[in-house]
Symmetry: C6
């Protein structure tokens, strides 16, 4: 059985990924502040809808949907147009009410099925820390919940991307996070000083494409 590759549509990335992401897999995009994690998550959903006719869902946790729409537009992605065409869906919950576990987002799965969503981007995985505020005392329960969510995404037939915050991206001091082991692929975004300016660098650490469906 050959591996079906899904083109991200993000310039340069598909080449690095040797054709794209594995369809139906889960990918973590991690990086320091300002490295472009949200941009990549948006591009994944936008170009999927525009160039590959795949409906997409973008879940924003800490930013308003209008900010996301404006931000994308400034980068040349007309999300609003795609929303009108029913090809992209944006989802958010007021941060004041974010708690109580996965039950509070039950509607999401129905949306994915009814709207034939093929790509989901979660910005960011901090989402699960709001839902499970005591995770420091029960790290395994947190891991379990992320895995269950990923399994639901996989079962629903979507390819799933999530962003995550990383406090150190310097390759010489890098320490892997628990989540880096849980996702099937993961991409590190960083900046490397080249003389007097910083250059953006993208590292694909794992791209094989397995994990977490059941």
């Amino acid at each position: 059985m050959a591996v079906e590759k899904l083109k991200t549509g993000i310039m340069g990335l598909d080449k690095i990924l040797k054709g794209g992401l594995r369809r139906n897999s889960s990918i973590l995009i991690t990086g320091a502040p300002g490295t472009g994690k949200t941009i990549m998550a948006l591009q994944f959903v936008y170009y999927g809808a525009k160039d590959y006719n795949e409906n997409g869902l973008f879940i924003s946790i800490e930013e308003s949907l209008d900010d996301i729409r404006d931000f994308a537009e400034n980068l040349g992605m007309n999300i609003r147009e795609m929303e009108k065409k029913g090809k992209i869906f944006l989802f958010s919950k007021p941060i004041t009410t974010l708690s109580g576990g996965l039950a509070s987002i039950k509607g999401l799965l129905d949306l994915i099925k009814n709207k034939k969503i093929r790509r989901v981007a979660l910005d960011s995985i901090i989402f699960f820390e709001y839902l499970y505020p005591k995770i420091n005392h029960n790290i395994m329960e947190y891991r379990r919940q992320v895995l269950i969510f990923m399994q639901k995404m996989k079962k629903a037939g979507v390819t799933f991307i999530s962003t995550s915050e990383r406090k150190i991206t310097d390759i010489d001091r890098l320490e892997y996070d628990m989540m880096d082991f849980v996702f099937e692929g993961f991409i590190i975004l960083s900046r490397v000083r080249k003389g007097s300016y910083f250059e953006r660098v993208l590292t694909v650490e794992k791209g094989g494409g397995r994990k977490s469906s059941q």
Copy 2:
């Protein structure tokens, strides 16, 4: 929709920021002791009022307002004059009564609306640690409260700056803080040894300008 830039009026900074800060965004100014965080926060409010006709609010947490006024004056910023003209407002609460959550500063939002405030500077974000004394045990609640405050600022139409304390600013040992991910832009102030003296250095790590309105 083009991004509207807001000139800080701070010498040199607008050039580095390619025209200024994004209007209505939130910026974190972080640095070691003595790197000039309070100065920059004051300049942001002062030059906004003086050169760009934008009313400003400066919130001081651990210093008396008279100390702030004297300090600014010594740097050539006549805050008192601007206060008389009704263009700058200073706000403080006795540290002895600082607790009990955001409710204790409810008056702030009315002030912002009534006085047509366009720029708010908070010195410093330690403010939220006084309001939520148990944050070590519930880091997500602390994050949530800062975000809610930022959303209120954004809704009120202000551009919001906050200072924050940073124990290490050495670029080779730098580790990002949670707050660096929450604000839309963030600026690091530091000193770098150049032979026998130290030179002040300003690094704009993130300036895109999104996050936290709802």
Copy 3:
């Protein structure tokens, strides 16, 4: 009494191991994300069944068995065929019900005996952290449970391999984990930068072959 060596069948590894693993021993395969831990665990079971006529069991904790089957197939290992021949067995438990200690996997030992299993691969040792969610507060109980499991494997006459997650594999910063002391052998998988690309590196740290039967 001469040591009986068991050929892993993995290209190159048997040479490094000077003939193979010690039969009936326990080996830990550890590494960063994407270093090929699951691949090695699968090869151990697959080539044992195919080339050395030893029945094998592969226990997957966080990945679905179908994902494992597809993944192996893409690497040229036809697990499904071996399953049909009754030479390889795959085992999994829904992550939602993973808790309650070793009792919940009692059926495993019967399977091993009835099916004459000689090789068992556990992917990964995180398994025990799901079973004993409070291990941070009782690290010795966690150690004890892993040892008891290893003793049962040894008593059943199997050679046992487990994968484990390692957050740092850089040889200059390496710190041994508790589990590295518990297994009889352990192998570190890592990547080392060679100019512009990364080379996979395998280090056999301990291969003598003792521990944990009783």
Copy 4:
């Protein structure tokens, strides 16, 4: 309003401080064991009384007043004489009874007012850790109490110096402490190896002179 500078009277220091400390400010003197923190605190009080006619108060927490007197005398500062003249006051509390918060030192403020004290030296800030023994669990309460004490000093018109213990002073490994952000100025005392001997080094990290009156 021009900044009034207060000469410390300590040889060399006033030059480094460009005329002295800002009158009515708060300064932290920090360093490793044996770097001369207590000496500098004593000199500040002694030369203020002797050469600038400013009454001074020295608060000792862990050393007996007689030890302090002898120690100063060996360094050529006749504290006893100044005490007789009513220009220097020494204060101490038995360590066995040191607890119960600021209430236990209420008499201090009366002393400062009645004796027209202009300079206060606290040796050391560990004082507040005795008063608030549970600070590890409530770091913000500790910060608040130090600030309240500093505000009382400022209101009373005194210039305030405190010593603090620092476990690492090596400039390449230095990490700022919370207290470094709270005081208006802070001075690091350290030793730097110069070939075969150590040279004392004084670094003024922050000397602007604001913070904490109310």
Copy 5:
């Protein structure tokens, strides 16, 4: 009173130790996985019995006695023969019942006296962590229990060796453990890279020979 030296019988070691270990002392052998700690503990007991006519006791905590016997045999030490001659004794307790403090091994001391044991090797000191599972919360109780055990060994006239696990042995990053201070002597086993292979290195850090009898 001259110090009586006890030859270990381990090739090369007696020379490094300038004649051997101090009789009736306690020695800690520490190292990373696979550095040969168990081998050295076995050699100590085996050569004592074989070459110096001293009865020995080997206490195994996590490995079965048969594994120990086989392992020794592969290294050329015929433990079984020595057991038959009543010169070496092996002791183990099922790990499932290992708890409840020193009372659970009361029989050991009788064995030592009755069998005229002169050398005892404990593999490893993790033993005490099983007996006192809450040591993280009461580190001094753990220290006390190890000392009491060592005092009993000393009173019984035996020379006592224990192995211990060490997560870092790199000399430049080494940090001493509490146990390194408690034993009278301690030996670090490590590997140092010499070009393309690793060389085993033995460092005797402390060999004076005092502590813990009462």
Copy 6:
């Protein structure tokens, strides 16, 4: 008032200390295992009694008094003879009963007064961790108790030395301990590699001689 110096009698040390220790002061001797902390503490008491006619007390916490006597004798110090002459006293408590605070050693002060003790050596400061087993949760209480003990020593007119364990002595990684700030002087014993052997090094970090009488 001139500082009275007390000759330690330890070869070389008095020269480094420019005449000796300050009489009636408190000194901490700290170092890694095997650096000679106990030897220096013994020499301080022994040569004081033998060469300077000062009665001494040696307090041993984890080693038996006979071990201490033998150990000293091997180093050429005939403690037993000095004990017979009533010039040196050894004190110990069974480790099994070591708890309950300073009350449990009340007899010590009487001994010091009755026997005209001028030098006291405590081996080691771990003593206070046995007496206050919960110090991790109340570090200030531990500090207070050590200071009270030091004040009692000072009041009794003795010069007081204590040994302490230090896990890192490498000068480039050294971090000061709380106790380094509490004692009036402190001496670090370490080993520095000189080509193929280690050289013992003694560093006097603080020798001024103040603190803790009341």
